[in-house]
Symmetry: C2
C-alpha cells in the first residue's frame, strides 16, 4: 500500500516536472487568457463545486468538527465568486518571468544577464479553506511554476472538484494539464513521500499549524519556505504620541485577532506606562480582551490582570488575549522581541526618529513598523497582489510571498567564442 | 560525551547569534578597517600559522593521506599572502547591507521600504584548504553575518590558528570576537548537532563531496544552500561555427578539469558530428583525454573510444575523461541536459540566435551560455568578487554565491499612525 502511494506520488511529481518545462515557455498573454478562462469555469461550474463541497460538509458534521472549521470549509456562490475574482486579479498582475535583473558587460566581451525565471515545481501543503486551492494554482501558473497541492483531508471532495474544473480548462490551452496536480490521498504518509521527491520538486511551502510546519522542516529533502506563527509585538516608547499609541495598539490586537499579523504582546516603556497602561487596559477590557501582565503591569493597573508566565511571551494566542510587559529601555524591548518573537512583524510607536531607526535595524523580523499597526503585513497592503503566505524564513523570500517569491533567476551568458585563460 | 559536545555547540551558536545583532549595527568603514587589520595580522603571524600547519601536515603523512590532499593542506608564505590579499579585496567590495531594493508609497500614506540586511548567523561546513577559513570569515563579516565554521579534521590545527589570529584582531574592534566561531571537534556528530541549532543559526552552506551534501540536506533543520556537483555540458549545434565549437569544447574540458564548471559531457548534433567529431576527438586524445562515446560516436570515430554507460551521463569526472553523445535535435540535447545534468552550467555553440534563445530558456541550469566556455562560472569572472561557492539550488541564491547571497532583506514600514480598516 505504501509502495503504491509512493509510486503514485512519484508519477505525479514527474508529470509536474515535465509540464513545468513546457509551462516555462508559455507567453504572458497565454497565461493570462488561461487564468481568465479558469475564473469563468469556476462560475459556470458553481453548482458542481457546491454539490461536491456538500460531501465534505456532511463528513465534517459526522466527525463533529468544530463549527468554525465547518464554516471555513463552506463553498457558496459568494465564495466561488471571490475565488473567480482572485484568478482575474492574478491575470492583471505583472508577469515577473523574463525580467532582466542585471546586465553586466565584462571586459572580455561576455554579456552576463541575470534573468527572472520560474522555480519549476512548487509543492504546497496546507490545511484550510478550499479557496487556497484555486488561489495557489493561479499564482503558481502566473509565475510559470507547476504546482502540487496537498490539501487537508477535510476538504478533499472540494479540492478534487476544483482541480477537475481547472484542469479541464488547461486541456484547450498551451499549458499542460499536468502543471496542476492534487495529491488527494488522505494518508498522512503522503506528505512524507512528497517531501522526498527532490529530483522533481524544487520548493515546498507549508501553511498551517506549528506541528505541520515542524514535521515538514524535519522530513523534507527539498528546500522549504516556512509560513510559521506570528508572535507580533508593539512597543510604546516614552517618546510616543500616546494617542497614536492607543489607536495602533488597539487595532493591532482587536481588529482581527485570529490572524498571524495581529499583536500578541504589548511592550511599554516604564516612563510611558503610568500615563498609558491604565487607560489602554480599560479599553481592551471593554473589547473583551483578556490581559496577562508582568508584575509591574499588575501593580500599575491593580485589578483584573492575570500574571503572565514565561510561556505567554512565546504564545501566538490568535484570540482576544494579550500579554503586556513594562520594560526599562529600548534595548530591553528589542531583546525581548528578538528572544520571544517569531520574526514576523513588530512595531514601535515613537516620535524620536533615531530611536525608530535603531529599532528597525535591530529587530530581526520580516517587517518592522514605525507608528503603524502590524496588521498591514499582507500582500495586498504591501502592493504585491495576492500572496501564497507570509514567510518567517530569512532566505529566498521574507514577509509576504507573492509572485516574485515563486520565481528564481538564472544567468544567461552570451559570448563570441570566449574561452577561459 | 555527546551531551558535552551538544552543550558546547549550542553555546557557540548562541554566542554567534548574540554577536550577530551587534555586528548588524557596525558601519561599513568599521568593517573594512577590521578586514584590513585581519589581512595584516595573517602576514605578521605567518610563522605561527606555518608552525601550526606543520602539525596537520605531519598527521596527514602519518595517516598516509594522498599527496594531492597534503598539497592542498600546505600553508606557505605565498599562500598566506594570498589569504591576506583576499581579505583586502573583500574590504574593497561594495557593502551590500543597507541597500534600498524598493520603495513603495502606499495610498494610505505608509512608506514601505525593502532593505537589504545581513542574514544573521551562517554555518559553513567544508572539507578543504585552510584559505577557505579566512575567505569565508571575510565575506561573512563584510555581509554583516556571524559565521560558524566546521572545517575538515585534516586541517584542524591550521584552522584553529587562523581563528586565533583573526579573533585577536576583533578584540580591539566594534565587532565582537564571538562573530567568528570554529567548531574544532573532529567528532562527526558535531555536524549533526550544528544542523539542529535552528533557533540561532539562519543558514547552512555545505561545500564538499556528494555524501557530505546529502548528509547535510537530510539532517538539517536549518535552511541549506547546496554547492553540489557540476555535470556541465557543451552542445554543438549543426548551426555552429565549428572552429569556435572546437576552441570552446577543448577549453571547457581541458583547461582545468578538476573543477565544478569544467565540461563532463559533449553533445553534438548529428549533422555537425561527421565534420566535427573526428577532429575534435583527435585533439582531445593528444591532450590525454579519455573519451566515452555513445554508439554513433564510436561508429563515427572508429577507434580508441570506450562505450559510455548510462552512469557516465550522470558522472562528474573532475578528470581528463569526457562523455560524448550524438543527438538528433536541439530538443534531445535540452532533454539530455535537464535529465542527466546537475543544473550548474551548460553551453550551446550556435550561430542561430533563435536556437540559442530556446536553449537558454529551456535548460534548467544556474548558468546557461551561448558561444562561450562553461569555465566562466565563477564569482570573479561574473564581476561579483569572491564567492562562498556555486549554488546549484534554485532558491535564495543560484550560481556564484557572493556577498549578496549572504544577505536577506526586511521590510521597513514607516507610518503616521495608520491602522487597518
Amino acid at each position: 500500500m505504501k509502495n503504491a502511494l509512493e509510486q503514485q506520488i512519484r508519477k505525479i511529481a514527474q508529470a509536474a516536472k515535465k509540464a513545468s518545462y513546457a509551462l516555462a515557455l508559455v507567453s504572458t498573454d497565454e497565461k493570462n487568457a488561461v487564468l481568465k478562462k479558469m475564473a469563468q469555469a469556476l462560475l459556470s461550474q458553481a453548482s458542481f463545486l457546491m454539490t461536491e463541497n456538500q460531501k465534505d460538509l456532511l463528513e465534517a458534521k459526522r466527525q463533529k468538527y468544530p463549527a468554525s472549521l465547518v464554516e471555513r470549509l463552506l463553498l457558496n456562490e459568494k465564495r466561488i465568486k471571490a475565488m473567480a475574482d482572485s484568478l482575474q486579479e492574478t491575470a492583471q498582475l505583472k508577469d515577473p518571468v523574463g525580467e532582466i535583473l542585471e546586465t553586466n558587460h565584462r571586459p572580455n566581451g561576455l554579456v552576463i544577464q541575470k534573468v527572472r525565471v520560474p522555480i519549476g515545481v512548487v509543492g504546497i501543503i496546507y490545511e484550510s479553506r478550499p479557496n487556497v486551492t484555486s488561489d495557489c494554482i493561479g499564482l503558481c501558473l502566473k509565475a510559470g511554476d507547476a504546482v502540487i497541492l496537498k490539501g487537508g483531508k477535510e476538504a478533499v471532495y472540494s479540492n478534487k472538484a476544483i482541480l477537475k474544473v481547472l484542469r479541464e480548462v488547461l486541456k484547450d490551452s498551451k499549458i499542460p494539464a499536468d502543471a496542476i496536480q492534487l495529491i488527494a490521498s488522505v494518508d498522512r504518509t503522503a506528505v512524507n513521500i512528497l517531501l522526498k521527491q527532490k529530483e522533481t520538486v524544487d520548493l515546498i511551502v507549508p501553511r498551517g499549524g506549528e506541528s505541520l510546519i515542524e514535521f515538514v522542516a524535519k522530513h523534507s529533502l527539498i528546500p522549504v519556505v516556512k509560513h510559521y506563527k506570528g508572535v507580533c509585538h508593539t512597543y510604546v516608547s516614552e517618546h510616543a504620541d500616546l494617542n497614536m499609541a492607543h489607536h495602533i495598539s488597539f487595532n493591532a490586537k482587536v481588529q482581527r485577532p485570529g490572524v498571524c499579523n495581529a499583536m500578541e504582546t504589548l511592550l511599554v516603556h516604564r516612563d510611558a506606562a503610568p500615563r498609558f497602561l491604565p487607560v489602554m487596559v480599560d479599553e481592551y477590557k471593554k473589547a473583551g480582551v483578556e490581559i496577562r501582565g508582568c508584575p509591574i503591569t499588575r501593580r500599575m493597573v491593580k485589578k483584573g490582570i492575570k500574571a503572565a508566565k514565561e510561556a505567554d511571551w512565546y504564545t501566538e494566542y490568535l484570540d482576544l488575549i494579550l500579554a503586556v510587559k513594562v520594560v526599562d529601555s529600548l534595548q530591553e524591548a528589542i531583546d525581548h522581541i528578538n528572544t520571544y518573537g517569531s520574526h514576523h512583524s513588530d512595531a514601535i510607536v515613537t516620535d524620536d526618529q533615531k530611536e525608530a531607526e535603531l529599532f528597525c535595524k535591530s529587530v530581526d523580523s520580516a517587517c518592522v513598523y514605525t507608528n503603524a499597526s502590524t496588521r498591514f503585513t499582507d500582500g495586498y497592503e504591501f502592493g504585491l497582489g495576492a500572496e501564497v503566505g507570509i514567510s518567517t524564513d530569512k532566505i529566498h523570500v521574507r514577509g509576504p510571498m507573492g509572485l516574485e517569491g515563486l520565481t528564481t533567476y538564472k544567468y544567461i551568458v552570451t559570448g563570441t567564442g570566449q574561452v577561459r585563460q
